[in-house]
């Protein structure tokens, strides 16, 4: 029970962090058809910007400034890069963002060094908020939950209750028709791309000190976010939300479950020894397989249900 509740809370925090990243990506992917490899790079940039800003003027300004900077970077990428490449098709756009992710990683390495930077939780939030069965739950995690919940609310309200949101929703499914109605679709694209990048930046600001701020963080986070987007389904924020939470839970729960296939077989009276074929596969505990689960899911979903959980279209 104790482990269960703590893991549930941690899974929730991690899931909400994933959602911040995935929501921007799913909007960009379903609207522009661009699988944005540089999305996780924006997450990394957000963390590094926040680190530098918080060194000079503090964490709270960084919380606002770093995502804004990321949004500007995103807008520039869309206007000067993606638009140009768009003519050469989706694969070219994909390759463009892929190259961009490589370059951003190198630029980050050259600006902030190869080693992780000491980006820490602000002191005003560095205390245990409550104690669950003897395990402390830090206030910062609650703060992360709060920020991501606020953001979820803001996106949801923005998309369903405002005029811009309606245009974006329409452009998700029928971009040509929206263009024909006289809306500036390229500008909508730029807005969505910049907003998505800013969201990823915000996730970086609050996730960078929760995890580790290092040059490899983009390439380790990127595939997980893809999994969430595919799992949730294209064009569906709700699906994306559910998928993020599920993925957060799967990853945190898998770490604490110490069973392997061999244990399962033992229940049925089949003993696994080192002489059994594939004994290595059978005796790996679930806690280690946890890292593989997202990728197994990604492949299975794309093969058997390309629409994802609640998608309106195939990936």
């Amino acid at each position: 029970m104790e482990v269960f509740l703590v893991s549930l809370l941690n899974g929730l925090v991690y899931g909400m962090l994933l959602f911040m990243l995935a929501s921007g990506l799913t909007l960009i992917l379903s609207m522009m058809g661009v699988l944005n490899f540089a999305h996780a790079s924006a997450y990394m940039l957000g963390a590094y910007f926040a680190f530098t800003i918080s060194q000079h003027i503090g964490f709270w300004p960084a919380l606002v400034l770093a995502p804004l900077l990321c949004g500007l970077v995103g807008a520039a990428i869309e206007m000067y890069g993606l638009r140009r490449v768009h003519r050469n098709g989706h694969i070219a756009e994909l390759l463009f963002t892929f190259g961009l992710a490589l370059i951003i990683e190198k630029v980050v390495q050259m600006t902030w060094g190869l080693l992780p930077v000491p980006y820490r939780v602000p002191e005003s939030l560095d205390f245990p908020l409550l104690t669950v069965y003897g395990t402390q739950f830090p206030a910062y995690r609650a703060f992360m939950l709060l920020i991501s919940a606020l953001m979820f609310g803001a996106i949801w309200l923005g998309l369903t209750r405002t005029r811009v949101g309606l245009v974006i929703q329409a452009a998700l499914s029928h971009p040509e028709m929206v263009g024909a109605l006289g809306h500036n679709v390229p500008r909508v694209f730029t807005t969505v791309f910049a907003a998505g990048t800013a969201l990823a930046g915000l996730a970086g600001v609050i996730g960078g000190n929760y995890q580790v701020t290092e040059p490899a963080m983009a390439f380790s986070m990127g595939p997980i976010v893809f999994v969430v987007v595919v799992f949730g389904g294209l064009g569906s924020l709700t699906g994306c939300f559910i998928a993020s939470l599920l993925m957060g839970m799967i990853q945190t729960f898998a770490v604490v479950i110490d069973y392997s296939l061999a244990d399962l077989l033992a229940r049925f009276g089949l003993a696994v020894s080192s002489a059994t074929p594939f004994h290595e596969v059978l005796t790996v505990p679930l806690s280690r397989i946890g890292a593989l689960l997202p990728y197994i899911l990604l492949v299975l979903i794309l093969v058997f249900r390309p629409r994802g959980l609640m998608g309106t279209r195939e990936a």
């Binding site: 699988l35 989706h90 070219a92 892929f98 190259g99 490589l102 595919v230 197994i296 794309l302």
Partner: protein
């Protein structure tokens, strides 16, 4: 009659025509066998180990990139996990070599790459069965997932993959068909070149087979392929599996050269190298990946000695290619063909010099800025000093930064002006070529 058939009918037959069509093949072999002798140390009678390793790397990575292009260029399948076929082929080869060494198996050293190829073929069929259910972006994402999966497995299952240390092996197994011991790197290099040429030749021939042609068709219009009565999925599957065979040969050559295979060979960075090389060289032409591999490996082994930022240069080159020259380096060369046909290539010399000067200036400015940035952080951490010739440059001096920025921005501005003039000249020449019927 199609345009291609017309051209084939009009083409002259005979030895001269054959040479004109296929000259890159003998040229590549001669270059591969001659180049090491320029770096031969006559006083010690030894080959330069660095040059031989680099040339072997080019040869084996060229096979890998060509096999990648069997999917990318031929069938339009963008894979982010191609290295798993390369790496698994390598692991199979390492285990085979160890089995031969232990005496449990007999296989001539010359045929060891076939073991890697078969390994790649089997895994290609396995992963291909899953991945080729989809195409385009979904295919790319499945291969991404498979790539991450295998890379994670490589660290998890130590029995087959050997964990972080990888699998070490010994290529001296004394089973050569020609009595060659393969103790010196020159002997291994010759074997690698021979296999690289064989693999490349087979891949070239594969493009002429019905399967190769149908792969092109599924790339261009997969719905129409269905109407004609083919199953595009099976075409993709066969193409993927065959490409796995050649990637496996590449992995086997890797094992023969380095005598070790680690999880790096299946990791995403390896897949990215094939992708970068193919796109820089040009996915649309058969030799594009080879040209791209030469560029990437030269940057990797040459520039990485001087600079920490070689991957940045490769990345920038890649982005520039994706944005401005989707056909890659070979595509740029091919665009000159109509102008060459009307014999007016000489008219481009002056315009080229005029864009080359500002182009070089802005490139130099960019390199200076990148190196300055890299020496303030990574270089400082490694305790290195930024030297240009005998001069030590202080990476914190504002003058160097201003110079770099001025060269980059000024050169870029100048380049824009010149490229406009170049464009006008180019369009005029192309229009002339069109008028003379030299466009094919």
């Amino acid at each position: 009659m199609t345009a291609g058939a017309q051209r084939a009918a009009a083409a002259p037959v005979g030895f001269a025509a054959f040479v004109r069509r296929h000259w890159p093949w003998p040229a590549a072999v001669v270059a591969a066998l001659l180049l090491p002798w320029f770096f031969f140390d006559w006083s010690t009678h030894r080959h330069s180990g660095f040059v031989l390793t680099m040339l072997s790397e080019i040869a084996l990575m060229a096979v890998f990139a060509l096999s990648f292009n069997m999917q990318m260029g031929q069938a339009g399948l963008l894979s982010f996990g191609h290295a798993i076929l390369f790496g698994l082929g390598g692991y199979v080869t390492a285990h085979t070599l160890n089995a031969v060494k232990a005496g449990g198996l007999w296989l001539p050293t010359e045929l060891v790459p076939l073991a890697g190829g078969l390994g790649g073929l089997v895994f290609g069929a396995l992963f291909g069965y899953v991945a080729t259910k989809q195409r385009a972006t979904a295919f790319a994402m499945i291969t991404l997932g498979l790539g991450e999966l295998v890379a994670a497995c490589a660290l998890m299952f130590t029995g087959f993959f050997g964990g972080e240390g990888g699998i070490s092996t010994d290529r001296v197994i004394d089973t050569s068909l020609f009595g060659v011991p393969y103790t010196s790197s020159w002997q291994v290099y010759c074997l690698v070149v021979a296999w690289a040429v064989i693999a490349a030749l087979l891949m070239r021939l594969q493009t002429q087979t019905p399967l190769g042609r149908m792969a092109n068709a599924t790339r261009d219009n997969f719905e129409r392929v269905q109407f004609v009565g083919y199953d595009p999925r099976m075409v993709r599957f066969y193409q993927f599996t065959l490409s796995g065979f050649f990637a496996g040969i590449g992995g086997a050559l890797y094992v023969l050269v380095y005598e070790i295979v680690t999880f790096d060979t299946v990791a995403a960075a390896k897949s990215a190298t094939a992708l970068l090389a193919t796109y820089i060289g040009g996915a649309g032409s058969f030799f594009g990946p080879v040209v791209g591999t030469v560029v990437v490996v030269l940057l990797q082994s040459g520039v990485s000695l001087l600079s920490n930022a070689w991957l940045l240069y490769v990345g920038v080159l890649f982005i520039v290619m994706v944005m401005y020259a989707p056909g890659g380096l070979m595509g740029i060369v091919a665009e000159h063909a109509p102008i060459a046909r009307i014999g007016r290539l000489g008219d481009l010399v002056v315009p080229y010099i005029r864009i080359l000067v500002p182009g070089l200036l802005s490139a130099l400015g960019f390199v200076l800025l990148v190196e300055l940035a890299s020496f303030t952080t990574i270089g400082a951490a490694q305790g290195k000093a930024f030297k240009i010739g005998p001069h030590v440059v202080d990476p914190h001096s504002p003058l160097a930064w201003v110079l770099g920025a001025a060269a980059l921005l000024g050169g870029g501005r100048w380049l824009r002006l010149e490229s406009r003039a170049f464009r006008t000249r180019w369009d005029a020449l192309i229009a002339d070529a069109k008028a003379k019927g030299a466009m094919l």
